[in-house]
Symmetry: C2
Subunit: 380 residues, 2 copies
C-alpha cells in the first residue's frame, strides 16, 4: 500500500520529514511550547498566503475553512455571488445556502474560467451583493480562475472578495495582499503537501469588520472565537487542535521555505506544462481550456474504447499510480492527474509511462512512449 504513487489532486505524497514530524509526542495544546510551534506555523502560513495579516489554523478539512470564510463574513439574508464552474464552486453556494445566505449563481461552463468582466457585470447588475466567492483552482475541472485580474475589478466595489485556494496555494501564484483578497483559505493536503485534516484561513481588515457585524450560526467555526484564541500570547486555538497535524504543517511549511515559494510555484507550472505536452503527445484531449489549465491538476477526457475502471484500475493495479476520476456528471468522462506538492519529472515519467502502457495495452494507442518522451523534452 505504501508503494502507490499518489497523483491525485489531494491528498498528495507526504515527505518523510513531515510524516516523522507527526510521530513526535503530543504536547499540551495550552502550553508555551505549543504556542511557539503555533506562532511559527501561522507566520509561515502568512508568508505563503503573502499577507501581512495573521493566519489561523482550523482542525478540519478545507470545507470547514470554506464554511468559516463565508458564514462569518456574510449574514443570513445577505447576498453572495458564487462563481460556479465545478464541484467546489457549487460547494461554496451550498455552504452559503446552509447558512441562510441568499445566493446568486454566476454559472460558468465546466472546463472554462470566469472572466473578470463577467464578475464586473454581475456586480453592476445587483448592488446588494455583499461578497463574491471564487475558486482559484477548480479541482474538479482542472481550471484556474484569474484571481489577480478579478482582484483589480473587486477593488472598485465594496463586496468582499472570498477566494478558495485549497488546491493552489503553494503551487500557483496567490498574493493575498496584492490581489486584494479579503478571505483566503486553504487545506493542508494539496500543494502544501502535509496530510489532510487541517485548514488555514486569513482575513483582511474589511473582512474582520464584517465578522464583527455578522451574527453567525456556527460555534465550532466561529471566527471571533478563533481570533480571540489565536491572538493570545502565546497563541491558542479555541478548541483542542490536531497537535500532530500542526507539527506536520510546520514541517511542510519549512520545506516550502527551504525550496522558496517562487521556485516551488515555477516547479508546479513546469510540471503542468510537461503534463499538458504529454497528454497531447499520447493523442489525448485536455478537458479544460488549455489557456486556463491548472498548474496543479490536469484534467483529461477519457479516450473512447476504455472504461474509467479499466483505465484507472490498470494504471493503479498494474503500474502503482493512483489517478483521480471525474466527479458528479464528469464521472467516467474524465480522469485527473494531480501534480501537487513534491512532484518532479520522475513522478511524471512514472505517471505517463503507466498511462501510455495502459492505453497501448487496451489497444487505444500505438505508441506507449510518446508521453514519457514528451516529459523529457519538456523538462530539458
Amino acid at each position: 500500500m505504501d508503494d502507490i504513487l499518489l497523483m491525485l489532486p489531494g491528498p498528495t505524497t507526504v515527505h518523510p520529514r513531515v510524516l516523522n514530524a507527526m510521530s513526535k509526542a503530543v504536547v499540551n495544546h495550552r502550553s508555551a511550547k505549543f504556542g511557539e510551534i503555533l506562532t511559527e506555523t501561522t507566520q509561515l502560513m502568512s508568508e505563503v498566503f503573502q499577507t501581512p495579516n495573521k493566519s489561523y489554523l482550523i482542525t478540519g478539512s478545507g470545507t470547514a475553512a470554506m464554511e468559516a470564510g463565508i458564514a462569518n463574513t456574510v449574514a443570513p439574508g445577505e447576498k453572495i455571488l458564487n462563481v460556479v464552474g465545478g464541484k467546489f464552486g457549487e460547494r461554496f453556494m451550498k455552504i452559503a445556502n446552509a447558512n441562510g445566505i441568499e445566493t446568486k449563481e454566476l454559472a460558468i461552463e465546466w472546463g472554462t474560467a470566469v472572466s473578470p468582466k463577467q464578475i464586473e457585470e454581475a456586480l453592476n447588475a445587483d448592488e446588494d451583493i455583499k461578497a463574491v466567492s471564487v475558486i482559484h483552482n477548480e479541482t474538479s475541472t482542472g481550471v484556474t480562475a484569474p484571481i489577480e485580474e478579478i482582484g483589480k475589478i473587486m477593488k472598485n466595489y465594496d463586496a468582499l472578495y472570498i477566494v478558495d485556494t485549497v488546491s493552489s496555494l503553494g503551487g500557483d501564484k496567490v498574493d493575498v495582499e496584492k490581489f486584494g483578497v479579503d478571505v483566503c483559505l486553504t487545506g493542508s493536503q494539496k500543494c502544501i503537501a502535509a496530510p489532510p485534516g487541517m485548514a488555514a484561513i486569513t482575513l483582511s481588515d474589511d473582512a474582520w469588520k464584517a465578522v464583527d457585524k455578522v451574527e453567525n450560526n456556527t460555534y465550532y467555526l466561529d471566527m471571533k472565537a478563533i481570533r480571540k484564541s489565536g491572538d493570545k500570547i502565546p497563541p491558542e486555538t479555541p478548541y483542542t487542535p490536531s497537535v500532530s497535524l500542526v507539527y506536520a504543517m510546520n514541517e511542510a511549511l519549512k520545506i516550502i521555505k527551504e525550496e522558496g515559494l517562487n521556485e516551488r510555484i515555477a516547479r508546479h507550472h513546469k510540471a503542468a506544462k510537461a503534463s499538458v505536452s504529454a497528454v497531447k503527445a499520447l493523442g489525448l484531449e485536455l478537458f479544460a481550456d488549455e489557456a486556463v489549465s491548472s498548474a496543479t491538476v490536469t484534467a483529461v477526457k477519457m479516450p473512447e474504447g476504455i472504461s474509467d475502471s479499466e483505465f484507472r484500475g490498470t494504471v493503479r493495479g498494474k503500474y502503482g499510480v493512483e489517478l483521480a476520476g471525474g466527479q458528479d456528471h464528469l464521472k467516467g468522462n474524465i480522469f485527473r492527474i494531480g501534480h501537487m506538492g513534491n512532484i518532479s519529472y520522475k513522478e511524471l515519467l512514472q505517471t505517463f509511462g503507466a498511462i501510455g502502457m495502459t492505453l497501448k495495452g487496451f489497444g487505444i494507442i500505438d505508441d506507449a512512449g510518446a508521453g514519457v518522451a514528451s516529459i523529457t523534452e519538456s523538462y530539458l
Copy 2:
C-alpha cells in the same frame, strides 16, 4: 519536550504504536483500502460506544461533534434542556444558542452532579423540551453524571437524550444501548488515547428521525451528509478526512480491544481511587464531591500558601509532570490530574511524587511521601 509526562484531562500520552501508525503513508481517502480502514475503525468505535448502531468519524475536536450532535437533532426555535455544572455543560448551551435553538439551563453547582430527579422535574415542568444535554464527565470539575440512572428517566419522555462522553468513553462505563442514549459523542485524545483532532458520534433511530426533520444551519457538520457518505460501501466521509488520525484511532481502538473494555474501565477506576486516596494522604481537598468524583480526572483544591504558577510550574519544570489548572472562575483555585488512557500505578507514583516534593519544597506539607505511599497501598 518529549520527557514531560502528560497528566492532563486530554491530550494524554499517546502509545508509540499509535504514533507509529500515524507515520504511515497517506492513502487516497476515496480508495477501497481507506474504506477498509474506516469500516474497521467505526466498527471498533461502536464496540466502545456499546451500540449496535453505526458510528461516524468527524475530523475536528470534540466540540465539532458536540455541535453536530445538537445542531442536527434540534431545530432552530425548538427547546433544549442543558445541564450546566461546568465549562462543557456551558459549551453545549452556547452551541445550542449559536444554532438558534432555545435553551433552558438546569444549573448545577460546579463540583456536584445532577440528579435524575432534577431532570425529571425539569421535563415535567416543560413539555416543549425536545432534547436534554448532559456531560457525562465534566472535565472542568472532575464530576461524573449518573447517565445510566438519567437514562431510566429519559425513557419515559420523548425528548432526545444527548450525552457528551468526550472525557469518559473508554475510561468509564458508557453503554449507549442499555442507557438509552440517543446521541453520544466523544473525542480522540482522552481515554481513547489517540492524538487530538478526531471526533466520533453515534445516533439512535429516534435521533436519526429528528435529523431527517431538522433543517440545520451547518454544512461541514451536516449529519445527513456524514451518514450518506458513511453508509456507502466502502464507506467514505463527505469531505477529506484526517487520514493519519484515522490510522491513529484505528490503532488506539485495537489497543482498547486487546486490553478489554471492561478491564480498561476497571483500570481507570483503580487509578481514580488511588488518586483520591493520595490527595487525602497529602492533606489536600478534592474539589468534586467524592461520591461523584470522576474515573478519569481528579480535581483538587489548590492549597493555601502556593500559587497556581508556583505549584504547576514546579511540578512541570522540576519534576516533568504536566497537570491542568482550573478553567474560568476556577483558574488558580484548583488543579486537575488527568488519569486517562495508558495510565498505571507508575505514572501516578511519578505524579504524586512530584506533587508531594513540590508542596514540601514550598513548605506547605511536612510529609512529601504520603501520596506515593498511599498509591502503593491502593494498588496492592
